[in-house]
Symmetry: C2
Subunit: 453 residues, 2 copies
């Protein structure tokens, strides 16, 4: 084992710490898993050179490195393993906007919201918008290939990554891509690193594609008797236009929000759809009218549309309130399963059955337009038996999604929490292929071991 003091001396002043309170604070992401290990030290890098030094030192000693952005992950991907270096990128947060090329050159610790704000100053927009966009970092977004609400029209993180600086497992820094928009020279290594959850390399800089500022949005809210009808409406809408948001809340999540803070939502509705259009000019009104017509044609119970941004924001707030509302009901296990869009009803009916069978509450909010859902398994804090039932429900939901041709994770990543279920989705041949790539890039297995796959 090489000497920690050597590492500390090689890094920026104050980057390395073994102070117990700090180590405790950096052991876990938002999953707050009780299986997180205890690090050897925490490195808060200030430069790419700090990252290279850390990885070189770890490689020499076979010490695991667990990279970490803002710590807002929901799958345990940044949870420490015993004896690791937790490598935090939170202090590397420079942002440079280049309006001529419409790109942002960003360090990994910069928050998603900070990039959006810097782009807005130039009349530009960075679309990917995880619900946590105010507190999550670009490095974490790249590591998980994060999605969000607008990806139904604008795609996910990987669609906006034009370039990456990556520190490999031996400490080499490679520069992939650049400020050009189209580039097919060589293998798509750039895309391989996006979504690799820190297992193949550590991102120290990203070049992100920006687009012109989003047009004003009009909003539609519609309730339906059942999730089946709501989902059929989603399919019908998707065949004719691309809304800039298309979210679904099931009855349990509507009621959780109403319990938390009365917003006048219809507690008897089987499901509620929340849609937006940001089409330019007069097309916004046309798109919203078309979606309204679709909702009514499919038997929507109530349908309300508004072109007023404040009113629209009020409804979007109901959707965003779902997570805090549900959080008050107990301890949570947050799912991220996805299925082909027309199978949403089967998924939601199956989840209701799983909830009943395991005697747990499972409200669902969904990025319905993408078929990506967040069933939230709720169990009373401190009730060990309920926790076991919740874990069982959590596994059953992933198995259900796989059986429907779906995925165990649409945007949060596998992390450490969903790792056991991954082979069921990918099968042995794809798992073997995955391990061959890992072996080729990180033969000592020091980069985020136990995460991702």
């Amino acid at each position: 084992m090489p000497d920690l003091a050597d590492l500390g001396a090689a890094l920026s002043e104050g980057a390395l710490t073994t102070e117990p309170a700090t180590m405790e604070a950096y052991r876990r992401d938002w999953t707050q898993s009780d299986t997180a290990g205890m690090p050897l030290a925490v490195v808060r890098a200030r430069t790419a050179a700090d990252v290279q030094e850390t990885v070189r030192w770890a490689s020499a000693g076979g010490v695991p490195v667990v990279p970490r952005g803002a710590g807002s992950g929901l799958s345990g991907g940044s949870n420490a393993v015993d004896g690791c270096i937790v490598l935090s990128l939170e202090r590397m947060r420079a942002i440079e906007i280049d309006p001529a090329t419409r790109t942002a050159i960003v360090e990994p610790g910069a928050l998603n919201a900070e990039v959006k704000m810097a782009a807005a100053v130039e009349g530009l927009w960075y679309p990917p918008d995880p619900s946590s966009f105010e507190i999550c970092s670009i490095g974490g977004n790249v590591a998980t290939n994060a999605g969000g609400l607008c990806c139904v029209k604008y795609g996910v993180t990987t669609d906006y990554v034009l370039g990456l600086d990556v520190v490999l497992a031996d400490g080499t820094l490679v520069r992939l891509g650049g400020q050009r928009i189209k580039d097919v020279a060589g293998l798509s290594l750039l895309k391989l690193f996006v979504g690799s959850e820190g297992t193949l390399g550590i991102v120290t800089r990203a070049i992100l594609r920006l687009v012109p500022a989003q047009s004003p949005r009009a909003t539609l809210v519609a309730t339906f008797a059942t999730v089946e009808v709501a989902a059929r409406t989603v399919v019908a809408i998707g065949r004719t236009l691309r809304p800039s948001m298309l979210e679904l809340m099931d009855q349990a999540s509507i009621n959780a929000v109403e319990d938390y803070q009365s917003m006048g939502l219809d507690r008897t509705a089987g499901a509620m759809l929340l849609a937006q259009s940001d089409a330019p000019g007069g097309a916004r009104a046309e798109e919203i009218a078309h979606m309204e017509q679709m909702c009514l044609a499919h038997g929507s119970v109530e349908c309300f549309v508004t072109d007023d941004p404040d009113e629209g924001e009020m409804f979007a707030a109901a959707r965003r309130a779902a997570f805090p509302a549900i959080e008050r009901r107990g301890s949570l296990m947050l799912e991220d399963v996805g299925v082909p869009v027309p199978l949403l009803p089967e998924l939601l009916v199956g989840i209701a059955a799983i909830a009943e069978r395991n005697a747990v509450e499972i409200p669902v909010v969904a990025h319905a337009g993408d078929g990506n859902t967040h069933p939230i398994v709720v169990h009373p804090a401190g009730d060990a038996a309920a926790r076991v039932r919740a874990a069982q429900a959590f596994s059953e939901i992933m198995a259900l999604a796989i059986s429907l041709g779906g995925t165990i994770t649409g945007e949060h990543g596998v992390g450490r929490l969903k790792r056991a279920a991954l082979p069921d989705q990918l099968g042995p041949d794809v798992m073997a292929l995955t391990h061959r790539i890992k072996q080729a890039l990180d033969p000592k297995g020091i980069l985020n071991p136990g995460a991702g796959f």
Copy 2:
């Protein structure tokens, strides 16, 4: 060396041939390179099992396999090497459209245009549109991560690939992705295979994302005194809206078209921009008016707009006539270099200097909105000295693009023609990383050796 007869017996009836005329016909793609080798045999697979049998047989004997779609490649990626099996996928061309999931399940030999047509029957659209869309195959599009004219707004092939069946170098068939839109489970292997030019595996099925049918398009044509002014206009337009097409022709290509077939283009113009908007409803007129205003504000000499599709098509025809027009002027070497959009003027001025220095003609057409250009090096057929000068110019243009932070290929692929220039773009560390991936996936090096990197 295993016996060819064994392979023939394992394949679909008539799949294997060693007939000399057929072998000659399958030796080259459109680059018509005189360095193409002579295959051992040609396999025209009918099923994924044929592909697996072929690769297993080749793997056992260490025989190279050169996969091939429609043979419309422009970089020599499908040119045979001596003693290889040319594995043609042209007979595997089933297309199934699933309107509910908005996906196309496609065999690799299906033509891009056939997929577009099948999708259109369901009111859906497959956007990627290489200029060769009527004759190029989806398998080739995936292998090169093909682009086209609409990618300035709609992205490239990789943005539409949701799933792939891939036969690996040992004959294993892996199934990646599926009909779900968002999926971050495991490494982004899907994206790694897109653009890998047949060097990592052979695609036997693709699941493609479809979107609602494109809205009607309005068209703008504007001429400018210089390419600098035209390029500055492109940058300005891109900051405020996303046109569905934004093409540039330089003076040499305008004149080549006029020489070929008089269309009334302004031979004195330094550059011509061709833009389209497909914004929904009334927004189309607003976007075109805005672009017109931008062109005039930047000093456009003449600017013409039309909402009439036939008239718009006439102008688009001028752009598409560039290639046949230039082809009549001699033998061609077709470039595909790209730079960050604001550096287009530097690139074009540099290309003009290279043309003069090497005494060759180099007209340029460009997907200007993406910074992706097609300089076409013309030299008299049969003039050996001119051919040498053309090859020199070809190399110099790639070096220039690299020096401007650009790429040697934006959408055609490296193939065999640009391989020598790739290390200059990627550098030794990225080349080494590339070879580690190749070694992990194809340790015997049988898949398309000499192509891609």
